[in-house]
């Protein structure tokens, strides 16, 4: 079709900085997500365990409770240490998984099924920036479920403890941060790759759910039939627990034979690279329509 009107002019407004362009996607994604009351309720529900753990810290530091326990000559000792934070991160990592299953398909699958990707990528906007923008949504949300409340709990304990506590437990800031970030990166990459390959939101949600659960079943079958324990390498949640416990300098006692944490790291790296490759293959500025 011939175009006769040639009144096009370049955009004269202020351009968004190159480095922050990806966050435009993040901003709009957050606006859409928090427009849903159901999502808001779910997000708040995911934070409820934080209140429980904070309540435990208050109780553990209450002189009244200590007095009652000593009167009852109970053997129960309430203290906040590595076990407390590993338990907290285990609980919150499950909520992070559920949150990812809910959020991720709305981020990518819609763009692909509605053919919006060529529109994004025809602008001065790269595929890496597109992925970074979507990744940031999950990164921020999952941070609010994992390491941010964990650090808040750590400082709450430091503030309430009568004895100098932070000095001897400061080293836990590192494991809290990096174990959470490892889980966030893995969840986000696997979920983004799955969403990119599955066209419909409903299917994508089920697929993400299945991608994490079904391989653990395959692993159990491998262990049973081949009489080994290496099948657990397919259980990503288990591998996270191994890394988490290694980070907190304790050993994981979930099963008798455990996977070495170097193997867990290797598997995480492999899955992440594979997810990136799948994203790379799927996110293109064109679509091949068969038939």
């Amino acid at each position: 079709m011939a175009v006769y009107k040639r009144h096009y002019e370049p955009f004269h407004g202020r351009l968004t900085q190159r480095w922050s362009r990806c966050f435009v996607l993040t901003r709009f994604a957050f606006r859409d997500l928090f427009a849903s009351r159901f999502f808001l309720g779910f997000f708040i529900a995911c934070l409820l365990p934080v209140l429980g753990f904070a309540g435990y810290i208050f109780v553990a530091n209450s002189s009244l409770v200590h007095m009652l326990l000593s009167l009852a000559s109970a053997k129960l000792k309430l203290h906040v240490s590595t076990g407390f934070f590993t338990a907290f991160l285990q609980v919150q990592s499950s909520f992070a998984f559920l949150m990812t299953c809910w959020v991720c398909p709305t981020l990518v699958a819609g763009d692909l099924s509605n053919g919006a990707l060529p529109l994004f990528l025809s602008r001065p906007f790269s595929r890496a920036e597109y992925v970074a923008g979507k990744f940031a949504v999950l990164g921020v949300l999952l941070s609010f479920l994992t390491w941010i409340p964990a650090l808040a709990l750590l400082f709450l304990e430091a503030g309430l403890s009568s004895a100098p506590w932070l000095g001897s437990h400061r080293w836990m800031i590192g494991p809290i941060l990096w174990t959470s970030l490892v889980w966030i990166v893995l969840l986000s990459l696997v979920a983004l790759a799955t969403s990119a390959w599955v066209k419909w939101r409903i299917v994508a949600m089920g697929a993400i759910f299945a991608v994490f659960l079904i391989p653990s079943g395959f692993g159990a079958v491998i262990d049973a039939t081949l009489q080994t324990h290496w099948g657990r390498l397919l259980d990503l949640a288990y591998l996270f627990h191994v890394i988490l416990y290694a980070g907190f300098r304790t050993s994981y006692t979930g099963t008798e034979a455990t996977i070495p944490h170097s193997a867990a790291w290797g598997m995480f790296a492999l899955v992440s690279v594979l997810s990136l490759e799948l994203l790379q293959a799927r996110l293109r500025a064109f679509e091949v329509v068969r038939g």
Binding site: C101, W102, F209, G217, A220, T225, T255
Partner: protein
């Protein structure tokens, strides 16, 4: 006069419920659905879910080929097979296969914007539900039963004469029959639930995930609540009990108050019929809203 009236009387199937017509329509729907979705790329993962154990049961033929095949090893393998049946096939493979196949029967047509075609045909919606349900059940049952049969053969075939004696002269064949029955009943039960969920919820995956949680925690709930789960009935049919050495395994394999196999089968069939009846009621009120999917 009366002779003339009887001459123009309509056939019996026009006045009463046209059972013959409905059965014929169900048959056509099942065939159509099977042709449309059994051997498609979209169903690849159902085959993957079903046949991965089959593949893994084949590996010991190569890896453990020099290991002794005695009665103790056979007993051990029987326990392993029972564990895989209870934990993998029923809890995971069959569950997710049913989730994918049965939720897609109606929700898939909604997503692909083709549901108005079957709705516009002169077929009662209840017939449509039953036809699609039977087609889904045929897909899942056939694929998983082939897998169980193959796994069973690979498992006991490795033991040679000992395995053959266990299967044909011992309890093996009976156990295989029960396992096949469990797969069929499990597919019907899970399938009915997922079909119902897909007619109630726009996104049936979230309630499906909740259903998985429900199926997991029901062993610790009161007896009357356990009856609302599929695995409650299946648990009473397992021919071999699995020793539980962990909390999770114990939770999955615990057997509550004993009920007879016949009651368990009848109970699960009753549960399936009740959920299907709800789906038939629900489909009458279903409206097509492609714009929101």
């Amino acid at each position: 006069m009366s002779d003339g009236a009887s001459a123009v009387r309509p056939p019996a199937e026009w006045t009463g419920p046209p059972w013959r017509l409905w059965v014929r329509q169900i048959g056509i729907l099942v065939r159509h659905e099977l042709r449309r979705s059994l051997f498609t790329r979209r169903r690849f993962w159902v085959f993957l879910l079903a046949f991965v154990p089959l593949l893994l049961f084949g590996v010991p033929w190569v890896v453990h080929s020099r290991q002794p095949v005695d009665a103790a090893a056979l007993e051990n393998q029987t326990q392993i097979f029972a564990g895989i049946m209870q934990l993998y096939y029923v809890r995971l493979g069959l569950f997710f296969a049913c989730m994918g196949v049965f939720t897609w029967l109606f929700r898939g047509e909604m997503v692909e914007r083709t549901l108005h075609y079957p709705f516009l045909t002169p077929v009662r919606r209840e017939v449509l539900v039953i036809g699609k349900f039977l087609a889904g059940a045929a897909i899942v049952i056939s694929v998983f039963e082939i897998s169980v049969l193959g796994s069973f053969f690979l498992l006991y075939g490795r033991f040679g004469k000992l395995g053959s004696a266990y299967v044909f002269d011992g309890p093996g064949l009976g156990q295989l029959g029960v396992y096949l029955l469990i797969i069929a009943l499990g597919a019907l039960g899970y399938g009915a639930v997922f079909l119902g969920l897909s007619l109630v919820f726009r996104n049936p995956i979230v309630p499906g995930a909740l259903f998985l949680g429900w199926e997991t925690i029901t062993p610790v709930l009161p007896g009357w609540l356990q009856m609302l789960s599929v695995t409650f009935y299946l648990k009473h049919l397992y021919p071999v009990s699995v020793p539980s050495n962990s909390f999770l395994l114990g939770l999955f394999t615990v057997s509550t108050g004993p009920i007879s196999s016949a009651v368990a089968v009848a109970g699960l069939l009753g549960f399936t019929v009740a959920v299907l009846a709800f789906s038939c009621y629900r489909i009458r009120r279903t409206e097509i809203t492609y714009s929101v999917d």
